[in-house]
């Protein structure tokens, strides 16, 4: 089936090219974590948890020179795709190679907006686990992780938001679902600081012609902007509802 219906001009889920999916957030779902959020973008559901800042532990002196190579940023990120998240259960012989890559992307993003810790030997752990995979996993993870950091009260400079875009017949589709992901079309995921439009991370899938880059990128930024608007409104609402619990 085609991605865009020739009859209605709509996508398979009824959206237009530039429309994003419904976003819902439930904060504080994981009671044991310092910060957590169940982030839903359409049918993609991600549980993001933040632990920290906590003691990073002693440096293993047996490493020798490798201590210098260790990143002192105090941030550890993990992206996990649950075995039950997709249509077929992934028993997974090993780790999904993309998981490591996505984890690195998350680290790159959050490092930019986080402040160096007051304590030298402390670490913040951000984990994004995809519970239900319906496309735009990295993008949703980037957004979810930011929200979890906010829930944990960790100081950040600004919000990071992710968006995955694809392009077909010259039309850029924003916030793609898994059906649209599996089409082997050009895909670009961006992690941006939405307010300034600054792109921190950009991931490309499936080779495509460079002429397509600008339209895809422009659509990504526009899509990120919309996602940020939604997320911003949700966060402000959440704060307002917790307002009685502030000090006067």
């Amino acid at each position: 089936m085609e991605l865009i219906s020739p009859l209605t001009g709509l996508r398979r889920d009824g959206r237009r090219e530039d429309e994003i999916r419904d976003i819902k957030c439930h904060f504080g779902v994981a009671k044991d974590a310092d910060g957590s959020v169940l982030f839903e973008q359409g049918n993609t559901k991600i549980l993001a948890t933040v632990f920290g800042p906590s003691d990073a532990g002693e440096n293993d002196d047996d490493d020798g020179d490798l201590d210098l190579l260790e990143d002192p940023s105090g941030l550890e990120c993990e992206f996990k795709l649950s075995a039950f998240s997709q249509q077929d259960r992934r028993t997974g012989q090993g780790d999904d190679p993309r998981a490591d890559e996505y984890s690195e992307y998350m680290e790159m993003c959050y490092k930019v907006v986080m402040f160096p810790h007051k304590n030298e030997n402390s670490v913040v752990k951000v984990t994004c686990q995809v519970l239900q995979a319906d496309g735009s996993h990295l993008a949703a993870a980037l957004t979810a992780g930011t929200l979890a950091l906010i829930d944990a009260g960790i100081q950040i400079k600004d919000l990071i938001v992710g968006c995955t875009t694809t392009i077909i017949d010259g039309k850029a589709l924003v916030d793609i679902s898994s059906h649209e992901e599996l089409q082997r079309l050009p895909q670009v995921t961006v992690g941006v600081i939405a307010r300034s439009g600054e792109i921190i991370v950009m991931d490309m899938k499936n080779r495509f012609h460079k002429d397509l880059l600008n339209p895809i990128l422009a659509a990504s930024l526009a899509g990120s902007g919309k996602i940020f608007e939604e997320v911003e409104a949700i966060v402000r609402e959440h704060v307002k509802n917790s307002a009685p619990n502030f000090t006067t």
């Binding site: 044991d32 632990f51 007051k118 304590n119 906010i150 100081q155 400079k157 704060v239 307002a243 000090t247």
Partner: protein, 276 residues
């Protein structure tokens, strides 16, 4: 509480306004103000002439030049000068004069501990000092927080005030949220008034730690339980003054009219000589 939704940079207001901020929000723009030095509290940073939020909360301004963010965050972050209630975990060290108690200050994850020298109590000497066991409570002040060392506590003070020190074991420890504990310490808040009102009719002791721990002691079993439940109801009221007032009146009545209260037996001797 008057909560405004403005997200544009405002001029510094003459009166207090409450502005919801998310990280990256510019709450105030100071180009038109003549503030030479600006005092920044938690959750806020200054980017050129903008006051920007780094967390989620309500931006506060206190004249002449103080800005900070009120947050619901329930994770205590030790800061110098904070009065906290700690739970003794163990005792470290060999030389008596260098020994310290490792004290838990409470955190969601990753236990936050501080160290308290065993002689850092008012009037303590090598031979005569508190002998604290695991689980004992102390009320102390955070003396120092350094990036590469443990948090240092003390129970001594330069003034003659002697309320720092171990807290009676028979008291009750109420675990509160940070905002609730802060409100109890804020003049004029319903929670603060509640404490004052109870004190008019009921003799009791309380220690409020900004790390979210409140210790209560009346010395009598039933009244202590009632007092504990009053604090629990007050926190559940989430700042609603009417609810708190009604609960206070009810509890005070009940305690004052009680005739069959059982005294709590407290045989613990904290201060001992010649401790092994």
């Amino acid at each position: 509480m008057d909560v405004m939704d403005t997200t544009d940079a405002d001029e510094v207001p003459k009166r207090r306004t409450q502005q919801i901020c998310i990280p990256g929000d510019v709450a105030f723009n100071l180009t038109n103000q003549s503030m030479k030095t600006v005092s920044l509290g938690p959750g806020v940073r200054k980017v050129q002439s903008d006051i920007m939020a780094t967390r989620v909360g309500v931006m506060q301004y206190r004249p002449p030049a103080t800005f900070f963010l009120s947050t619901t965050g329930d994770s205590y972050s030790p800061a110098t000068g904070d009065d906290v209630i700690g739970v003794v975990v163990k005792r470290k060290g060999h030389e008596v004069s260098e020994q310290t108690y490792v004290v838990d200050l409470g955190r969601n994850t990753g236990r936050q501990t501080g160290i308290l020298p065993i002689l850092a109590f008012k009037g303590a000497t090598k031979r005569y000092r508190p002998n604290l066991k695991k689980g004992d409570l102390i009320y102390g002040r955070i003396r120092r927080t350094t990036p590469d060392g443990p948090v240092r506590l003390t129970c001594t003070s330069n003034t003659n005030q002697s309320f720092w020190g171990p807290l009676r074991r028979t008291g009750a420890l109420y675990r509160a949220s940070l905002p609730f504990a802060r409100r109890c310490l804020t003049d004029g808040s319903p929670e603060h008034d509640m404490i004052q009102q109870v004190g008019v009719r009921v003799p009791f002791e309380t220690a409020i730690g900004v790390n979210g721990r409140i210790w209560l002691y009346t010395g009598m079993e039933k009244s202590q339980n009632l007092l504990y439940s009053l604090f629990r109801d007050a926190e559940a009221a989430k700042g609603d003054g009417d609810v708190i007032r009604k609960a206070t009146v009810r509890v005070v009545q009940e305690i004052a009219s009680m005739s069959d209260d059982i005294p709590l037996e407290d045989n613990t001797q904290y201060w001992v000589t010649r401790v092994v």
